[in-house]
């Protein structure tokens, strides 16, 4: 039997989960939860590229999610763009901003990126909160309909709103995972993992460390931006919380919990931390506490993250 490559296996598992899980949904509400998991999974896949592959830490990725989200709110009303193009515009703006923020910072060694992105995220959240005429301030702003569901209905595919967003976000997540897995085995991905292993050695084999770090940062910013756009379009509403510091921390925690080095693991982490508040309503009050605790426990007991550690255990027992 030909061995399945890790990439195909990951994509198959993911596709199967997306397709089969709805059969177990007790109510239509769970399509919403599923879609939220996929959107978070998408953002966290970007974190995998930045943190898992390249070993860099961002504490402000929610800022890019905010840009993606507000692009969908503002570009259609102010620029007359179709919401789908607003997603692209948001991604481009996020990519360019990531480039401008990352370029001077990533030349330096050390944790400057974490500090700079922390500032960047707070800045974006501040602008979104304070520019009331444009953004509606802390109360948020309405986001126009994507319109794809109506189009599908015309073609004879009638989905409820929840179903549509579930499958749409699922497909976007699959594409995002496919791209991240492509990168992993590619020359560019190898360069990222090399600098994660040893920046000095990466330099001696000719890797322009500052440049490839910047690539990873820009790519991951685009992931966060698209995820932010999807949240806004699905909810038809957006508030500055999407760009908040807690959201940035959530992304990193999801990746670290599930396993920042593995796409499937990180999406798994996104699933757990998205489900938790749905299952435990008290969770919302203690979210910060729980996130901190999760980070600590994972770092102490499961350095690679939940999924890779469990898989390793299973494999070890099999041998």
């Amino acid at each position: 039997m030909p061995r399945l490559s890790a990439k195909s296996a990951t994509l198959l598992v993911l596709a199967a989960l997306i397709a089969v899980t709805p059969f177990f949904f007790p109510s239509g509400y769970y399509y919403r939860v599923g879609a939220l998991i996929f959107v978070n999974g998408l953002a966290v896949t970007g974190i995998v590229i930045l943190t898992g592959y390249a070993g860099q830490i961002s504490l402000g990725h929610a800022g890019f999610a905010g840009i993606g989200g507000y692009a969908c709110a503002l570009a259609p009303t102010h620029l007359g763009l179709h919401p789908s193009l607003a997603v692209v515009l948001g991604a481009v703006i996020s990519g360019v901003l990531a480039y401008l923020v990352g370029r001077p910072i990533l030349r330096l060694k050390g944790y400057y990126l974490a500090v700079a992105t922390l500032g960047f995220g707070i800045l974006v959240a501040m602008v979104l909160n304070n520019e009331r005429q444009l953004t509606g301030g802390p109360d948020g702003i309405a986001v126009p309909e994507l319109g794809l569901r109506g189009l599908l209905k015309d073609w004879g595919l009638d989905l409820t709103n929840g179903q549509f967003w579930y499958f749409f976000c699922g497909i976007v997540l699959l594409i995002g995972a496919w791209i991240a897995l492509n990168l992993y085995q590619s020359p560019s991905g190898r360069a990222l993992r090399a600098l994660h292993g040893s920046e000095i050695a990466a330099g001696t084999v000719g890797i322009d460390v500052a440049r490839v770090k910047l690539q990873a940062f820009v790519i991951s910013a685009v992931y966060a931006s698209v995820a932010g756009s999807l949240v806004a379009l699905q909810n038809k509403f957006i508030t500055p919380d999407v760009a908040g510091f807690m959201h940035s921390i959530e992304m990193v925690t999801m990746a670290v919990l599930g396993g920042a080095g593995s796409v499937l693991g990180a999406i798994f982490g996104a699933g757990i931390l998205t489900l938790l508040p749905q299952v435990l309503t008290v969770f919302a009050e203690y979210e910060q506490l729980v996130l901190g605790l999760v980070m600590m426990l994972v770092m102490i007991f499961l350095r690679e993250g939940l999924l890779p550690s469990v898989l390793r255990k299973l494999r070890g027992r099999g041998e």
Partner: protein, 259 residues
């Protein structure tokens, strides 16, 4: 034109001259060894030549181009590669991936092609993998290809690091104690490998403590003591040089002071 020319290189740390006014030349196919007692400044010299440290004075000229203090990744594209005394292996990768990384300059391409897994990206990756497997065979690691690099023995890691450096077909290869921590058999393997690489036209600049190995394979030896060049020449000349013997064994005054 001289391949690599080191001209009056010097550096101070906190007012102490770690290396002072060191000059020598390296030609294609030569094995030039830098020797000297511990703390003589050998690794510091290496770090200046390979762009890890910014020299305080002097120049490094590679094929007529002044490359003094140039970043290591730029030196790599100009044909200079190196290994490290305290191994710099990508522990998060397999042995094969480590070797493939050495082909970075040949396999890199547009990141968009890599993200979308375009045929051009696959072609580049395949070519690099083929080259890497060949190199692993050359250093005797082909059977370890799929193992995690972190699990290899010390001697194997040393060979892997050399393989990775060779992947870029360097014109000059700097080896910082390639045989350190290796047993006699491993040392001999590395010894053969170095001679072979030099025979193919690559210039080798070597720091090594194993004197037998240095005397056997060097075409030329530079002796450092307290950061200064005290002798230079063929192995036989250097080993007879009184200044060198004094540096290694201590001078008579030194012996008196000790007694």
């Amino acid at each position: 034109m001289t391949l690599l020319s080191v001209e009056g290189l010097g550096i101070s740390f906190g007012g102490i001259k770690a290396v002072h006014d060191v000059s020598f030349k390296v030609e294609p196919g030569e094995i030039v060894s830098v020797i000297g007692p511990n703390g003589a400044g050998k690794t510091t010299l290496f770090n200046m030549i390979s762009g890890v440290y910014q020299p305080g004075s002097g120049r490094v000229v590679l094929e007529g181009e002044d490359v003094t203090g140039m970043a290591p990744f730029r030196l790599a594209s100009r044909g200079m590669s190196r290994t490290f005394q305290n191994l710099q292996i990508f522990q998060n990768m397999t042995v094969l991936e480590n070797a493939i990384s050495g082909f970075h300059l040949q396999e890199r391409g547009p990141v968009l092609a890599d993200l979308l897994h375009l045929p051009s990206s696959r072609r580049r990756a395949r070519a690099a993998e083929a080259g890497a497997r060949e190199l692993l065979a050359r250093v005797g690691l082909e059977r370890a290809a799929d193992r995690e690099a972190g699990n290899l023995s010390y001697g194997s890691l040393k060979r892997l690091e050399i393989a990775r450096a060779l992947a870029m077909r360097p014109k000059v290869l700097l080896l910082d104690e390639p045989a350190a921590g290796c047993n006699a058999v491993e040392t001999e393997e590395i010894d053969h490998l170095i001679a072979e690489v030099a025979a193919s036209g690559t210039a080798i600049l070597l720091v090594e403590h194993d004197m037998k190995m240095v005397m056997r394979i060097s075409s030329h030896i530079v002796v450092l003591d307290h950061g200064e060049k005290i002798a230079e020449g063929a192995p036989a000349e250097v080993s007879r040089n009184p200044a060198v013997i004094a540096a290694y064994l201590g001078t008579e005054e030194g012996a008196d002071a000790d007694g």
